[in-house]
C-alpha cells in the first residue's frame, strides 16, 4: 500500500483550521476525513485503519491528547500528528515519547506540515504493513486447535516431544503430529521461528 493511499484524519474543533486544512490536503490528493471534535472522531472514524490522525491539542471536552490515549488503548495503527496553538513543550515531549509522531505549532509552515505529514504517512505505511502481517499471524493462530494452542507455548520453549508428551499426558508421537500441524499452519520451520512468531504477535 502506498502512503498516499492512506487515510488522513483531521480532528480540529476550529472550523476554519479544520476546513482549510482538509481543503488543502484534499487539493494535494490526500485522502482526507475531517472531524469537528475528539468525541465525534472516536465515535465515527475507523481507528483500525492505517493512516495519520492530525489532532489539535486544544479542543473542547476531549483534547488531542485524550484522543491519542484512546487510540493507543485501541491499538490503533493510526500515526498521531499533533497541532498546537501555542508551544507546550512538556506535553509534546510526553506524547512523542509515548509514540506520537510529531508536534506542529500553529501557524505552521506549509513545508513543515507537508514534510511531517509525508513522513508520518511513510510511518503509517510501515505500521500498516506490520499491522497487516500481524493481523495475518493472529488469523493463522486462530486456526490452531485448542490442543495445538496448548502445545505451541511448550514447543516455543524448545522442549523435546517426550517431555511435552509427558507434560500433557500424551504420547510423543501425538506431540510430533501437533508440531507438524502447528508449524504448517503458522508457516514456521522450527521452534526458534515459532518463538519469534509468538513474541512478535503478542501471543
Amino acid at each position: 500500500m502506498k502512503p498516499m493511499d492512506l487515510i488522513v484524519y483531521v480532528v480540529d474543533d476550529d472550523e476554519d483550521c479544520r476546513s482549510s486544512l482538509s481543503h488543502l490536503l484534499a487539493s494535494r490528493g490526500f485522502q482526507v476525513q475531517a472531524f469537528e471534535s475528539g468525541e465525534v472522531f472516536l465515535r465515527l472514524a475507523n481507528t483500525g485503519r492505517c493512516g495519520v490522525a492530525i489532532l489539535d491539542r486544544n479542543m473542547g471536552a476531549v483534547s488531542g491528547v485524550d484522543v491519542f490515549e484512546e487510540l493507543q488503548k485501541r491499538a490503533s495503527p493510526l500515526v498521531a500528528l499533533f497541532l498546537s496553538g501555542h508551544g507546550d513543550i512538556p506535553v509534546a515531549v510526553d506524547v512523542t515519547k509515548r509514540g506520537a509522531f510529531g508536534w506542529l505549532e500553529k501557524p505552521y509552515q506549509d513545508a513543515a506540515l507537508m514534510a511531517a505529514l509525508t513522513n508520518a504517512l511513510v510511518d503509517a505505511a510501515t505500521i500498516g504493513a506490520r499491522h497487516h502481517a500481524k493481523h495475518e499471524a493472529v488469523a493463522r493462530w486462530a486456526t490452531l486447535t485448542p490442543r495445538e494452542k496448548e502445545v505451541a507455548p511448550l514447543l516455543r520453549q524448545g522442549l523435546p516431544s517426550k517431555l511435552i508428551g509427558k507434560e500433557l499426558h500424551v504420547g510423543w508421537r501425538t506431540v510430533d503430529t501437533h508440531r507438524a500441524n502447528i508449524f504448517d499452519k503458522l508457516g514456521v520451520a522450527n521452534a526458534a521461528e515459532l518463538e519469534r512468531y509468538m513474541r512478535d504477535n503478542g501471543l
Binding site: D16, G85, H86, D110
Partner: protein, 729 residues
Amino acid sequence: MAQPNRSSSMSDTAVGLPDASPRTTWTSRVRWAISILVAALLVLLAGQRSERTEHAYQVHALKRAIEVHALGLRGEASKYAYLPFTAAQHPDIVATLRDPGNAVLRELANRYLEEVNRRAGSDALYVLDAVGMTVVASNWNQPQSFVGQNYSRRPYFIDSSQGRSGQFYGVGITTGEPGLFLSVPVREGGTIVGVVAVKVNLRQIMATWADTLDPVMLADAKGIFFLGSVASWIYQPSRALSQEDLAWLERHKVYGPFNAFVPVPWAVEQVPGQAGYLLKTRIEGRERRLLAVDEALPQLGWTLTVTSDYGRVLAARNRTWMVGGLAASLVLLGALYWQLRERRYAEQRNARQQLEVRVTERTQQLSDAHAFRKAMEESLLVGMRARDLEGRIIYVNPALCAMTGYRADELIGKLPPYAYWHPQDTDKHKRESDAALSGDAPATGFESRIRHRDGHDVITMVYTAPLIDGTGQHKGWMSSVVDISDRKEAELRETISRAEAEHAQRLALLGEMASTMAHELSQPLTAMSNNANAAEESARRGNQGLLLDSLERIKAQVQRTAGIVRGIKDMARLRTPGMQACAMNEVVVNVLALLKPEIRMYRAHVTTRLQEDLPLVTGDTVLLGQVLLNLIVNSLQAFAEDSTTPREITIHTTSDGSSVRVTVEDNGPGVAPAVEAHMFEAFFTTKADGLGLGLKNCRTIVESHQGRLTFEHRASGGAVFILQLKANA
C-alpha cells in the same frame, strides 16, 4: 489655658489681705499692746513730769505768796516800829518816867499817847517803867487800861529793859487779845528809865488770810501757830514741844490762857528734789493734802507757812494724764484709724491690684482670643466673606484675599458685581448672589467659578449663612468660600487613576489570556496559511472554483483575525470609547468571542440566553465588556482542576423595560461566606498571583454607570453574578 494662673493669683491675693492670717493678727495685737503700754507709760511720765512742774510752779507761787505775806507782816511790823521810838523821845514821856507821881505829867503823857495811838491806828501805846509797871498808856481812860499793869515778864520788856528793841507776839495779859508788841528803851543820860511799847493788832492780816483758800499759818520761834487762816490751829504747835519750851511759854505767858499745846495733826512728807513738802492733815473734819512752803522771817523770828492744795498738783497731773491719755487715745485712735484706713487702702489696693490682674488677665484673654481668632482667620484655607443686607462686603479674611488676588481694602465696601466675578459667569453670579441675599442659598452650598486677579480661574464652593450680631439682629450674610480647584483636579486625577486602574486590570486580564489569545490568533493564521496554500494548489491545477473558494475563506479569516486584534486593542487601550448607547447582547457576544480560547482551554461550556429586542443601555462597551470578561474568567478559574462534572457557564440577558440585567451563572464551587464578605474590596484575592482588583474594578465600573453589581449563591451550587444597568428610555 489661664485657669491655673488665675487661681494662683487669687490665692496670692488672699494671703496678701492683712487680717486674714492669724500670725499677722497676733503680731498686730502685740504691737497694739506695746503701743498702748508705751503710750500709758508716756502719759504716766508726762503726768509725773506735769506733777513735778506743777509742784515747782505751786512752790514758786507759794514763795510769791510768802513774799507778799512776809511783806505785809513786815510792813505791819515796821509801820509801827517808829511809834515807841518816837514816843520814847517825847519829853513828856521822859518827864513822866522821871517823875511818875506827877499826875499832870501823866495826864499829859496819857493824852499824848492816846492821841498818837489813835492817829497811828495801833491797838495800844504805853510806857512801862524800869520794873515793868505801866505808867501811862493810850487806853488810860478805858476799862481794860494797861496803866498799873506790870508786864515785867513779857519778853519785849525784858529785851528793851536791856537796851534792845523788843518784839513779841502774844496774847495780851490784860485784854486777852493777841497782838504784836514792839518796844524800845527810854534812855535818860545813858540810863534806861523805862520802855515804850506799842501793841499792834494783826487782825487785818488775819482777815486777809482768812480769805485764802488754803491755809496760811504763822508760827513763832517755838513752832506754835499764832496767826493763820485755820482758826483751830491757832496756839497749837506744829510739832511736840520740849519741856523747856513749855516752861518758857508758861513763864512768859506768851499766849495767855492758851496753854494746851496739842500738836496739829500734820503728816509731813518731803518730796525729793523739790522745794516745799507735802502736808497731810485734817481741817474742819476734811482730809487735805497740802503743798507747804515755810519761810523764816528772821527779823520777826517767825516762820510763815503757806500752803496750797496739793489737789492742784494732782489735778495738773491728772489733767496731764487726762490730756495725755486723751492725746494718746487720740493718737492710738488715729493710729487705729490710720491702720484701718491703711487696711482699707490695702484692701482697696488689693482689690485694685486684683482688678488690675483681672483686667490684665481679661486683656490677655481678649488679646489671646483676638490673636487666636486672627491666627485662625489667617490659617483658614476657607475664604470668609461677610456682607450686609444690601450685599456690601463688610469683611473678608486673608484666605479670600489670597483666593481672589484682591486686597481686603479693595473688596470691603463693594456691592455686586464684585471684582472677582468670572466674566463668563456674570449672570450666574448675579443669580446666586441675589439668592444668597434673599436667604435662598442652598444649604449644601453651590459651586462658583471665580476669576483670580491674575486671570486664572478658581473653582469654589460657597456656603452662606445668616450673620447675626450679639443682640440677635440679622445684620447680613456670612459666606465661606472653599477653593475646590484642587478637589476638582483631584477628582479628575482620580478619574484618570481609576481609568488607569481599570486599564491595568484589563492588561492583567489580557496577560492572563495572552497564551489563549495567541492560540486564538494562530487559528485564523493557520487557516489563512492553509487556504493560501490550497489556493496556490488550485491555481497550479487550474481549478478556478477552488481557488476562488480559498481566497474567499482567506478574506473571512482576515476579518476574524482583525476582530480578535481589535478586541485585544480595545482591551489594551487606556482610553475607552466612553459613554454611548450600547447593546448588552453584543457586548456578551464580543466578550465570548474574546474568551473562546480561554473557555476551550478550561473545557467549559458556555450557554447564552440572550433576550431579543433588549433595550439599549448607556455605557462604555469596553468597560462593560471588561466587567463581563472578569466575571466569566472568574467563573472559569473557579472550576476545580480535576472536576469531572461538566463545566457549565450560563449567561443571560433580561429586561423589565426600565433596567437590563446580565447574569453570569456557573456550576462551580461557589463563593465561601468568608470570601463573599470581602470579594468586592480592593486587593482581596483568592488567587495565588491575583492582584485583587478584578471585582473591585468591576463594581467601580458598574457604579460609574449608575448600575449595580451583586452576587447570589446558585441554588444548586455555584455562583451568580448579576449586573444591572438602567435601560435607555
